[in-house]
Symmetry: D2
Subunit: 341 residues, 4 copies
């Protein structure tokens, strides 16, 4: 932490800051420049760090600059070789293989999920995605089939050699979902639902944690840290588009977040080009871009009849389009030293 | 809803859209321009509206433009005269009075909360704010005193003739909190926590709903709609800063959201200049701006010893600064036809 | 400047940075923390500063944090009492008076500008605004009357005791415009047109410099610095709305930029609630908010027949609305220790 | 254009809008829904379109929705097969080949530019980039070598079989630059400098037009339209990063803009991963992503001694890194049906 004093700060103001730094259990290093004084803070006392931060409004202080990242367990330095998460059935996330999850936005019926599961498995997906509990911004939209949806998805996945990933929305759903799914997904709107994050820290089931629409990269890693600090280290991060002034597409898929997070953290990193674009015809180019930028996997919406889908039909690929996309990314993966099994 | 066809859309493509509109129970009105065809959709069938939306990726379609707002109960037209929420002790939100809530970010001790309560009451605050459960982006920060904090806050408020507003973070806390507080606050990070919103729809206690950091005005109103659709109409909205590229302050307080929401909705609208700026010396100017723009109330952080506050000290006013601010806004309120009691 | 080394940086990497700092003519101060090393850079050698910045991608470096502001002449410390710009006819910007400029977006005809000038002068405006050269995002829109427009505006202003402010778009227009106007306005799209800024540095005529739609506060001050470094210190800054994800209004008027800039710089600060909102019915609340937040003046679009205006009719006030707004802000100004003459 | 009336709009208000639409030379089509009335506007009268837009603040109007794009000449429908720009020396932009421009941010000396030109040519670049006139946000930074820089760049390019692209900042530089360069670049800050755009419309030299930091995709196409409406159709567009709340990297490279613009327009589309990231180690992943998403070319900063570069050293690749990147994108191009010669 660096305290940057104002150009005209008085000695009294500087001394007050130095004293407060010591009171909080840290050491203070003064650097007196020609124009202003800067105070380096050294030490490691998490509990009183927030008191130090309050000094940024103290008289004579211009700003406080944080130097170390607030996440520790998620930092790349903890596991420089990177985390590989074994999901079973020979599927590992974060290793050499780029892994693809595909399926409908929401499970709608046995026929629907079973048909789609067969098609995506054939094209090379390793996980079946599908929502049983749906977070909908309108209270008047379809809210999902609940446990029945989970059952249907598990059956469809098992029949086709797939694993299951599905969204958990509330701590109360965790116990119910664990037997049905292989990966619990946390949606963008829940990235900072700390009760949910804590509940997921107490289990061992892998978690796919999506970046919030306006979350910084650091905040995403801090949410991962919440889960990890509870004891669950099996976290897969996922870029799914951020909110910017550009509104031609639903979101701006921040492809650069992939290499940035791969540098900052040892956790595997997915991309979701379906929510990241919100338009069917833009999913494939962005999926290719994500693989080229180093993503460890993709999560993609596929529906056999998108025009009649109960949600997100607008961004769901037809099964044939998905198969074509798999072919394209199979050709791209080797260029970045990866493969799609 | 308007379907905007591409300039070169074929008759077959146009006919397909018209048929799908009818299948979903709506009527289609064609407007053929010189350059392109536009299809107006008329009708009212909420359930199949999402199927219509899926048409925006259909061949020949450029985009679908939504015409009506997705919120109904929150719309100004439902109650053109505006909602007034009576909190008791003669305090009403949304009427002629601009109402101020003030207090520390977090309840820390009996002495702390009781001292601050006395000071803010004396200056003219009507509600005591303070967190017992704290949503902290780091798992290593102070997480609040829990029920003990609520008790201390209730006592301090009662002794000083104040009402209590405090943040609820999870459906499981609702029952616990109701006896202690007069208003339940939903924080920015929980604005789209639908389980929490639904739980709040089932009680009658007024709710102060804060806008998410990247939530549009429409999404904020849709979250209010979630609560209202459960039967609780006592919603106070609150602007608390959005996330933009400008990072000199912690957030960009969207003052314009105040008059915009007052036009779109009948619900009262607060502003939170403390979180909206994140710096003590910017709280007063933004509080004044909010009142000048028509806010129904303010929620402001005040602490007797901000440098030693366990959270948000950087943006907390000293009690004297708060008293001065109350004087300033007392002078501004009449210019917009309001008063501060 | 602070060089923040990675947690695992080697001694060799640290030494390399220290040597480069010295080579560039600065001193290096090492602070070795428990987790990482931080290097403070002290000295004042503008020319080689960019070489230092290039070190932020050097091996072992996490980031470089700039401590001092890149603007010097515009900094508050240069003139702590604030700059007052005397425009003549008893009008001073940056003093006790809040000064209002008003008029149409574009000068359209003698009758139009003369009618509007009379109305805004009567209501209390001190400057007449109006465009003779129009920056239009479409090549197919009305581009302005040119010099003829300037003449008409000058006549209308003189007849009503007003000063004139009008936009300059290119260095080639400066000489032409100077005789007709009292303040040259630089539009948001030209805030970083360095050729134009340099041309304005060579004259003495006051400049109203608008913040670019995506310019940070620091960049606005740096553009002012461009003009000032040429010798023209008569700069009035102006907040006119930034671009954010919120699109209900055309822009997000960053009211907080007003108190922030008043702290950072000695230059006067205006607000433009017309472009900042893009909707007639939101101009008045935001104008009031700007005055309450401490603005030194306002620039507002007024048109006698907005529905037939050749540009920006949607955000122009009717003269009666403008007169009412003047009354409101006359009541607010004293609450912040100002007045409207 | 669609006029969306408020739910409670009166017949009088609706009639007023209909009459104004007719007065402006358009036809009005009423669609009366259960909740509100919508008016479709049909016709083609560019000059009075701005009058129609002013109706969006008229009584009873909720909003006006624009249906057709404001750009015409740049629209994909004008040339569905796409534009191919022949630059000479067998280099064509927009065809099957992905074309790479590379070189230093600024030309610094004969030795520097000649060394870099040899290295990038060897690795497969077709154009040499380099600035002779530099737009610098600080007046105290290096401003470029001017015409001398252009001469040095031309010599270095000719010796290595390269073409030249360099930035033009002001209309006054166009005539000077044309003999030295093959492509004139318009920087992000000048994307809406209409005087410059108009000057470029009057020549035939190809223009590389960079997207402004906060420009929408539509605004970028409208700036291209400005140049094209003057008669110069040889426009190459370029995504170079937009400004968002995410500040870990200097900008957010909007990769999705590539496929979006390829759908909306027939113009070729480049990406600039150097400015788009601002960090050397993120340039390669984003360059790969751009090619995978369908970019027609890349423009990349390369410097033999980035730590001593006079500008942008932080984001310049070493020549060896550039050669490796060329190898990677050579492997990716075929996956999207392209090649790198």
């Amino acid at each position: 932490m660096i305290v940057n004093m104002l150009a005209g700060a008085t000695d009294e103001q500087i001394n007050h800051i130095v004293e407060r730094i010591k009171e909080c259990g840290f050491q203070a290093h003064l650097i007196r420049g020609e124009e202003r004084t800067v105070i380096g803070v050294v030490g490691n006392s998490n509990q009183r760090r927030s008191e130090l931060e309050a000094l940024s409004s103290a008289p004579g202080v211009e700003e406080i600059v944080k130097i170390s990242h607030p996440f520790k367990l998620a930092a790349r330095s903890v596991r420089p070789e990177g985390t590989i998460i074994e999901l079973g059935k020979g599927v590992a996330i974060g290793g050499n293989d780029v892994v693809v999850a595909a399926g409908p936005c929401a499970v709608e019926s046995a026929a629907q999920i079973s048909d789609i599961a067969a098609r995506v498995a054939e094209a090379g997906a390793k996980l079946l995605r599908g929502g049983a509990f749906k977070p909908r911004s309108s209270p008047y939209s379809f809210q999902g089939l609940g446990e029945e949806g989970l059952k249907l998805m598990r059956q469809a996945a098992d029949k086709n050699g797939l694993l299951v990933v599905s969204e958990v929305m509330d701590p109360s759903q965790v116990t119910l979902m664990v037997p049905y799914v292989d990966v619990l997904q946390v949606g963008a709107r829940n990235m900072q639902n700390y009760h949910l994050l804590r509940a997921l820290g107490e289990i061992k089931k892998p978690v796919l944690l999506k970046r919030g629409m306006s979350a910084t990269i650091e905040e995403l890693l801090l949410s991962a840290e919440y889960i990890m600090s509870g004891g669950n280290y099996n976290i897969i991060l996922c870029e799914r588009g951020i909110r910017t002034f550009e509104t031609y597409l639903r979101n701006t898929l921040d492809i650069a977040a992939i290499p940035v997070i791969k540098s900052l953290s040892h956790l595997p990193m997915f991309a979701d080009p379906s929510h990241g674009t919100g338009r069917r015809d833009k999913v494939a180019p962005m999926a290719r871009a994500a693989v080229a930028a180093g993503a460890d996997g993709l999560i993609i919406e596929v529906h056999s009849d998108p025009e009649r889908a109960l949600s997100d039909g607008v961004q769901s690929l037809y099964p044939d389009q998905f198969a074509l996309l798999m072919k394209e990314i199979r050709a791209i993966a080797p260029a970045v030293g990866r493969r799609i099994a």
